[in-house]
Amino acid sequence: MRQKIKWGVVLVLFVLAGGLTFAGGGQEAVAAAETVAIDFWTHWCSNNEYFEPFWVDAAVQFNSVHPEVKFSINLNCVPYEGYEAKYSSAFDVKKGPGLYTGMTHVWAGQFGVADPMPKDIADKMDEVLIGSAAPFGMYNGVRYGLPLEGGNFMMMYINVGLFKEAGLDPNKPPKTYTEMLEYAKKLTKYDSGGKITQAGYAIRYKGHPFGIADKSAPFYHAWGAEWLSWDEKKASGYLNSPEAVDALAYYAGLVQTAKVSSVDIDNPAGLFGQGLAGIMFRESWYEAWLLANAPDIDFKIYPLPSQKMESGYTNNFPWAYNVGNQISDTDKKWLWEMIRWYINSQDVRKEHYVKSVMLPAYNDIIDDPTFTNMKVFDAWKTMVAGRAAPTYYIPPAHEVLTIIGQATLDAMYAKGTPKAVLDKAAKDIDVILAKYK
């Protein structure tokens, strides 16, 4: 009897405990919102103070519209140098971030770690994207990412003060590269030993060869050259064409023969910011950087010169916000929902770019006075109305452009003739491209 009472008490206590647990848990389950915390990795923090942190604030705004989820974005500013190693290491162990800044053709095409955009968002993107930004965030005809900026191609920055000092009219920029060389000769200053102390044209010579290739691209394109054919999977006949050789001869000649560019004093961004270069080429983001870091520099921005044809708008760093495909389905669902909200909200996008003073990638907000009053606006408008130069958004882009950059450097440092270095580079690139046949 005592045993029965004992077991009866145990049973009752067990049932009570279970009931309390489920009752309490059930109420909890009904009240709790889903918690989604997205890691956002970007190496763009140093380019602009507001552009990337905006996404943290945007998550808060999104929460107010979607109270059923506790959505947040954790901003991780990754230094640009070595960002590929950090990204690839994380993706290798399946711990990649949910949102990251990167070149889609690399991270989707080569690594396969980007999630394709839902159709409705991609359709809306096609509707609102500026033409020059349309290829960014795409690979193989599929849209993955959101382009960062609308002016992500090089334009010509001139130092107004140095122009006037050299007797040049800052309102009459060079229209051709031949003219630019004449301007550069007047803008260049030398010390008693013949070393350049003020560059006529600030040439990129330091850093990874990939970047060297990128900065030299407009010259090749202006001479009518292309670097390769992805369809044919070859660079021979393209990279070492007579037009390409002429372009590289001009480019290397800025250093070697004309001596209007220096491989000593500093890289273009720093040099122009110090007021030691008359002309340099850079993307639209550089305007905000100059205003913040070199406010004493009086500068104007113009379209790139032409030669046999327009340089055209293009770039080799088509930065886009990509959604990683290694996060959970729930996280992915809400992240795309947030992006859907962002794309469908003109005001949110306008706030993003106005606060950052960055040229937007979207045609429905580009007419805001904040952007039309930017120094870069007219140059940008002229260039996007003109030629779309070739792009090289291919999976082995890093390797291929490194070879081109090295060849460009070899010519700049007179380690080979333009023809010889380009012949070798074309042959090496053919080997890489053959793997993709």
Binding site: E81, G82, E84, A85, S88, S89, Q110, F111, G112, Y205, K206, G207, H208, F210, V263, D264, I265, D266, P395, P396, H398, E399, T402, Q406, L409, D410, M412, Y413, K415, K435, Y436
Partner: protein, 298 residues
């Protein structure tokens, strides 16, 4: 439990195993596993889609046919020769000078000054020296100007970049070498010098016939460590020159890094890693054989 009984010795053995187990696991996970993985990957090739497939010696042939590999190998050897020679010679001179400082406390202070740069991270050292070596604003050129010498381009000149990197390396490493050599000098009994002096030896002869032979094991250790460090140089190069100008400071580790993380050519990176390992292993064996039996007991 009796001493000498089987269960006692088993217990002792087990205790020993447990003591070394953490270190053993550490070596397995952080040394042997990556080493074996690298060997395995070196016989594979990366194909589109980032898969690795068996390729036999194909990747070895590709790397050996790559001019960038040979350039980085030559640059690394040039750097290693300069950096190691300068480091060992300088460390020897400094340690002998410190050894002859009469006051022990003053000697310790001076030793600390030489050791301090060793505590600086290599990346920080690179940033510091990049500014010191700046062709326009750098302190180095200003000092050269003060003594009437022409300014140099240092890290921005193809012919000067490797020597400039060697200077940075010596600045970082010499303190560590000084510590080892100073300890070696202090371990030489005075009786040897007294006996040599009685025989009429003095000045440089003392160093040549007594000090250096007795210091040989320590010199060997310093040489081996510095060669390993120099061949594996990466941080300073990455932070300052990125292999430039125009590839003039491309080093083996930078070649490995670019292939692994920029181009995602894990196969080529693995071959480079295996190559570096074999080179350093060969050097270590050669050095040990040359110095074997050279411990002098006078």
């Amino acid at each position: 439990m009796k001493l000498g009984s089987t269960s006692y010795s088993r217990k002792l053995t087990l205790t020993g195993v447990f003591f070394i187990l953490p270190v053993f696991l550490y070596f397995i996970v952080l040394y042997w596993y990556p080493l074996i993985s690298a060997f395995v990957m070196s016989f594979q090739e990366t194909i589109p889609g980032l898969e690795l497939q068996f390729a036999g010696l194909k990747t070895y042939r590709e790397v050996l046919a790559d001019e960038d590999f040979w350039r980085s190998l030559v640059n690394t050897m040039l750097f290693a020769v300069q950096a190691v020679a300068a480091d060992v010679l300088l460390a020897l001179i400094i340690s002998i000078a410190l050894y002859n400082v009469p006051s022990a406390s003053f000697r310790n202070v001076l030793t600390l000054l030489f050791v301090l740069p060793t505590l600086v991270s290599l990346a920080a050292a690179g940033f510091i020296w990049e500014w010191l070596f700046h062709p326009r604003f750098g302190l180095a050129n200003q000092l050269l100007g003060l003594v009437g010498l022409p300014s140099l381009k240092f890290l921005q000149d193809e012919n000067q970049v490797i020597s400039s990197l060697a200077v940075i390396n010596v600045w970082v490493r010499v303190g560590f070498s000084v510590l080892i050599l100073l300890a070696g000098l202090q371990s030489i009994p005075d009786t040897y010098f007294d006996a040599a002096k009685v025989d009429g030896a003095k000045g440089l002869k003392l160093y040549w016939f007594i000090t250096l032979p007795l210091l040989l094991p320590h010199l060997g250790a310093v040489l081996l460590l510095e060669v390993i460090f120099a061949v594996k140089i990466f941080d300073i190069v990455y932070v300052t020159t990125q292999g430039g100008p125009a590839g003039a400071s491309d080093m083996l580790m930078l070649y490995l890094y670019n292939n692994a993380f920029r181009f995602y050519r894990i196969d080529k990176a693995a071959v480079t890693a295996v190559f570096i390992f074999l080179v350093l292993l060969a050097f270590g064996i050669l050095q040990r054989r040359l110095l074997a039996g050279r411990r002098y007991e006078l």
